[in-house]
Amino acid sequence: MRRYVAERLAMCVPVVLGATVVVFSILHLTRGDPARLMLGHRASPERVQEMRQQLGLDQPILVQYVRWLFGALRGDFGTSIVAKRSASEIILERLPFTLQLTIASLVFSTIVGIPIGVLSAVKQYSVVDYLSMSAALFGLSMPGFWLGLMLMLFFGLRLGWLPISGHSGLKSLILPALTLSLPEIAMLARLMRSEMLEVIREEYIMTARAKGLRESLVMYKHALRNAIAPVVVYLFLGIPWLVSGAVVIESVFAWPGMGQLMYRSILAKDFPVVQGFVFVIALLTVVCNLLGDIVTGFLDPRIRLGSHLY
């Protein structure tokens, strides 16, 4: 187990580095000069050149990257070109809003998605099963943007039960979190269902039944426990997705999270902010992967006790 975790930890470094290198390259090699974007159309070329020097943009790309990387490792992503203050500060200010959204979605998806999946498996081919799976298909197929707008128009405008947009307390969190969680609920439900169905067919379930155990005990103690591992992994992997998927939802609901910030920063070629964000997301992704793997290790004795497969 320890080796397992160590191996996983070691993988973090190249992944994060790789992500930052890719984004850095894309930002620098595509059109759009931050100095010109910042100074506007009337600034003279000399002024723009001066600004480039000030921002350190005239240095070779490698130098710029290394300089930024050393700063990033200390938590300093540089100074935002647009807002003229610490990029780390800006990201930290907006992060809580995105986290609120993401955590609420996560909690909601888990509470709703997993039981639905289990129920559908236990009552396979029943009305519950069909309705759930149809709804799941719907939730997966409909684009979040559209879903969000529909929910907003119905619950916000037509019924007036919830705020339409903006951050104004717990009530305003409901619609965006719901929209964000719907595809996740769908995925979790389907995954849980298929894992349960697979496990139910295993021989030890037949044995448990033959032993005379109550059906509910068979299902929830034996089947669920073994089926849940992949679902948990998926849950953890979904966290970075939720954070980045929030970009569209944040725009629709005018939620002041990191997603909106990223969109504007990319358009303004605000390198420090965009790179800081990518760094954070890459880190989050590897950490979540790691956590997912660790939890799986605990849940699956084969991994925990160190089988030959590893």
Binding site: R31, G32, D33, R36, L37, M38, L39, G40, H41, R42, A43, P45, R47, V48, V82, A83, K84, R85, I90, E93, R94, F97, Y125, V127, Y130, L131, M133, S134, A135, L137, F138, L149, M150, M152, L153, F154, G156, L157, R158, G160, P163, I164, S165, G166, H167, S251, V252, F253, A254, W255, P256, G257, Q260, L261, R264, L267, A268
Partner: protein, 554 residues
Amino acid sequence: MRTRIRLLTVLGVLLAVALVVGCAPTPGVEPTTAPPAAATEVPTAPPAVSTEAPTAAPTRARLVIGLTEEPEVMDVQQATWSGLPHQQITEPLVMYDFEMKELLPAWLESWEISEDGTAITFHLPPGAKYSNGDVLDAQALADSMWRYANPEISMYPEDLQAMLETNVIDDSTLEVVFSEPQAALWLVLATEWGAPWDAAEAERIGNDEFSRMPVSNGPFELEEWVEGSHMLLVRNEYYETNLPFVENQGPPHLEEVLVRFIPEALTRVSELEAGTVDIIHDIPPSELARLRENADIEILEAPSPGMVYLAINHEREPFDDLRVREAIAMAINRADLVSANEGTVDPVYSLLAPAQICHSEDVEHYAMERYPYDVETAKALLAEAGWTDTDGDGIVDKDGQPLSVEMLVPPDDPPREKSGVVLQAQFQEIGIDVSIEELPYDFITGVLAEGEDYDLALDEMIWNDPDCITWMYDYPRYSNPEVEEKLDQGRYTPDLDERCAIYDEVQTTLIDDLWSVPLFASQRYLGVRTWVTGLTMHGPLDATFFLNDTTIQE
């Protein structure tokens, strides 16, 4: 069992679909497209829109406004663009009347111009203060002007490049001496750009902090800015103005203005319909018809003081040939652009839109007659320049090379995005193969301003004063010393008729040379709840709001 499974699945899906369809809002009634404004119409200056004066006690002291774009910098002297939030925290020195012809006092009480026009004496309201209590006297105003002229701080110091010295005559009298008589400067002084900004406070807290929390002399001051969410403006108790067209020349009736940033159009519109937001900007054409039918909402319209135009790179073959440029101009059917934008834009042929100072109907007619929509002539011109379709593939060619070019189109500006596709088809008709390259609009302006390569580009310029032609002069990589001289002259010719005569000449030359092809001026649509009273909007001046008399009567 199998049939039952299938049946239930189908029923389940149908139920889901029914839920969706049932819950969907009724689609907007197809907007009857307004007939494109005939370019021969003489434009009457759009009157300022003013909702009736309040009759009862206001029910709410906070106005909520929904904006599309959040400013990056609130200190206008460090900003590259400005909008409503900047306008509400500052009071400009002067103001234009609603015809954009005469100057009126705004924050200043009055001013005099010397005989030769090079010295302007400003008379300030005595005892005036900035919103934080700092003294706003002649010295403070001078400090503010020098700060604006400082290239280390300001984005547009050239606006004051002719300023030689400032002389404080007494606390409320400031004389500013220029090397030339000022003409283009007045628009700057009539907007937030030329207003007083507290240079002393900037010194105290540093420019970076001041760019986020600036201090000025407007009806409101910036109290709180939660990035990505909103700005809270509160009443400035020190505010005073000499604007003749508002009743209340002291602090506004409203206590607070909450400016919310709502980037998604449908969300903004929903908030307005729900009544949780009182005013919104940028209503998309698809929502107009429905909102107009809503008795609780009033739609305000204002013409854009500027236009969308097609920039052509004169240094790129074959655009260096005037005939090819002429062919392009004559292949454009502006009526199609108008209908692609659902009637929310007005065609323009000259270089100054109706809301801009020195717009000339004569020049507009001249341009229209010189380069009307004429596909046959366009093809003939191309043929004359050596471009014909020798291989029958629909694209003209010359010496074996097809005429294939790239057009930069911004995906983040709907009117231009829609127009790009239409233009592509229109150019295809005369045999020019245009491929669209999408680039955000700021980037496009960057390409033009940086001297980078391009073939064609859709750009937009918004500024009331004809001096803006000088700024974009180089975008098409065009050079004509005569025009340059006249542009310089125009900047410093105070007499309006003389000035406009100069710009008429400039426009005519640039039209003859097909410097670039003007396309259309957009209409702005704003939505206001009818319970907002006493609102004055200066249509031509970038739809600036004056909230001095505004109250809310629910």
